[in-house]
């Protein structure tokens, strides 16, 4: 197990990168601590696969260093780095038994047969495939094969880290639940560094203690699922995390706060102070659909809005309202009864209203 550090790391697939746009990964420093369960989350093309391949050694970074426990490993192969990888599609030898598949990485390392047997049984037990050990891998279902793939990663005791590249893509939703839960338990039991790449926020947040959100070759936020949800420090994180994402409204400065259309949104003094210090006119407010409050009666801090769509998602509703010229999405419970065209009173609770300048969150200086 190792601590993995990326120091002044950048990567470009072009030989003469001219600007930021030529970089798959723009310069960054990052540490993956020993024994952590991490996710690397972002849309396709954000650089997350490049990042994973740089950690594993499949790709050599064009700039900067990769360090395992302080030792530079840029030139080492995945095998020499002791990295185990689990891919989208299960990698198993169909003609071998499950036992031989699991034993394979150990036999390669010349571990004594008695030890191999004990270890294979231990791993098979954890993955709940013990009863399938002497079956040929070709007779397994997709999720069983993926378990064997994971087992091959877990079986080696000297492994530095396990990297998962969208491992649940081919698994049915009903089984995803079980496998995700299994992975969490394995992490708790083996205390191993795990990095899990995905574009699915739910997979990332249920697996990882901390998530690195990537966007255009940069890690825009590294935090717990709760931090990403409650305190997104970039508009992209607000948009990408959450379904639907954060409501973002372009606003302008005005006395007492910021405005959009005829609506004045009051701000906290520290937010106003920040706005006075910067000159940018790229200002937005953000509030999550879960936090917009809807009430029947008008009050000092409410605006009247019109309902334009109600999406019934079974146990909750996503309501679209129009406030001035802005469309807002609001999450409501099953009891929401206002129909399309109806009027509602909308307000933004202060603690959930975020202010963004040049797409970055304005944070309170403590």
């Amino acid at each position: 197990m190792a601590e993995i550090e990326l120091r002044s790391l950048a990567h470009s697939y072009s030989e003469m990168p001219a600007g930021d746009g030529d970089y798959a990964i723009r310069q960054l420093d990052h540490v993956w601590h020993k024994g952590g369960a991490y996710a690397l989350l972002g849309p396709s093309g954000c650089g997350k696969s490049t990042m994973l391949n740089i950690i594993s050694g499949l790709v050599q970074p064009s700039e900067g260093d990769v360090l395992f426990d302080g030792k530079r490993v840029n030139e080492l192969s995945p095998r020499d780095r002791n990295i185990a990888q689990v891919f989208q599609f299960p990698v198993v030898y169909d003609s071998m038994t499950v036992f031989d598949n699991l034993a394979f990485p150990l036999r390669n390392n010349r571990i004594p047969a008695s030890r191999i047997k004990a270890r294979v049984h231990e791993i098979a037990q954890v993955l709940e495939i013990e009863d399938k050990l002497y079956r040929k891998a070709r007779n397994l279902s997709a999720d069983e094969k993926q378990k064997v793939s994971m087992g091959r990663g877990l079986v080696r005791e000297d492994v530095s880290a396990i990297l998962f590249d969208e491992p649940l893509t081919v698994i049915d939703p009903q089984l995803k639940w079980k496998l995700r839960r299994k992975l969490r338990q394995i992490h708790e039991q083996f205390d191993i560094t795990m990095i899990y790449v995905t574009h699915d926020q739910l997979e990332a947040s249920t697996f990882a203690d901390k998530i690195a959100v990537m966007y255009e070759g940069q890690i825009v936020q590294f935090g717990t699922p709760t931090e990403l949800f409650e305190q997104p420090n970039h508009t992209f994180v607000g948009f990408f995390i959450g379904s639907p994402g954060m409501n973002l409204i372009a606003v302008r400065r005005c006395p007492g706060g910021v405005c959009f259309g005829a609506s004045v949104v009051p701000l906290e003094p520290w937010q106003t102070e920040t706005l006075e210090r910067v000159s940018s006119s790229n200002i937005k407010i953000g509030i999550r659909p879960e936090f917009v409050r809807i009430s029947e009666l008008p009050a000092d801090d409410t605006w009247e809005a019109r309902v334009t769509d109600v999406e019934d998602l079974g146990t909750y509703r996503i309501v679209t309202v129009v406030l001035g010229e802005e469309k807002l999405r609001v999450r409501q419970g099953e009891g929401f009864r206002v129909g399309i065209g109806g009027k509602v009173q909308v307000s933004f609770p202060r603690q959930w209203l975020k202010l963004y300048v040049d797409e970055f969150l304005v944070q309170e200086q403590l």
Partner: protein, 364 residues
Amino acid sequence: MSLRLENLSREVDGVLYIRDANLTFEAGSFNVLLGRTRAGKTSLMRLMAGLDKPTSGRLLYNSEDVTGQSVQKRNISMIYQQFINYPNLSVYENIASPLRLAGMPESRIESRVRETAAMLRIEPLLERYPLELSGGQQQRTAMARALVKDATLILFDEPLVNLDYKLREELRTELRELFRERQCIAVYATTEANEALALGGTTTLLHEGQVVQNGPVMEVYRAPVNTLAAQLFSEPPMNMIRGRVTDTEVTFDEYSHHALARPLTELVPGAYWFGIRPSHIGLVPANDDDLEMSMEVELCEISGSETFMHVRNRHFEMVLQLMGVHQYHTGAPVKVYLPINKLFVFDQGEKLVHTPSSVPGGGV
């Protein structure tokens, strides 16, 4: 205009892919086929398209028998999981290709292509080639090609599965809007219950080649005909607990005893399966007559806005979907509360016998 499947079956080398399907699809309808991998979604679509021949049964289009008619003779579009575009043609030519094949005059082709591309927001990309596009843009191109001609039947075979979930969210909303105005029959296959709910329309639940249930999406969701339908149409899957009703009490797995209260008093004494959706179980009681159960926490999965809490006791396990962050250690004792009016009840044959009652201010 309608497409009717009559006792349609397909068998290959002794394996039954579709068993006795009876379904009707109306023009202007949006139909979702929901089922796990290998449930028969693709097989059914291929039969509808005429790409495969049924072993028995008939396919009727406006009461005309079209069984075994080749796909070329019928006006059908199909969109697959993998984005299929012609790599050597520009986006414009890709979209135009079905119209050229149909011999449409050049002047009309251009307006149709531009109109469709605008609808799918790829108009600025018309001069590019597929390989220069992102995955989402490639799939939009494939969709534009399917939508550009006035097909009478459009089949979507898990078209969004290879895309980011954010893009999926976006395209799903667009699809809903695109089909509001169209008079064709749209059929959409997915493995995800939440996608079926978001798309709306009609839902057909498929399992092992058989139609389990079919109807307007909310009807199927609110009254699943059996435990299988309930499990298929719930994400995470509906919790199922075995129980027994006597004249005075309801007992779960001969372990958790509760005084019998309305509406369960309507049940004939006997053994049942009780189902409850993960989002309906609470950590605090919502009503006086909630069923209280002592459980142990197995795992909390926190998504940021929600927590999926897995709990168990010696007899059964459950999943709770809770709003907000709830952090408990493995093994921590918790009391959970099941609202009695949110219970689904299934008989020993796993058939639905009772649905949650609609209470004022609350749905099912």
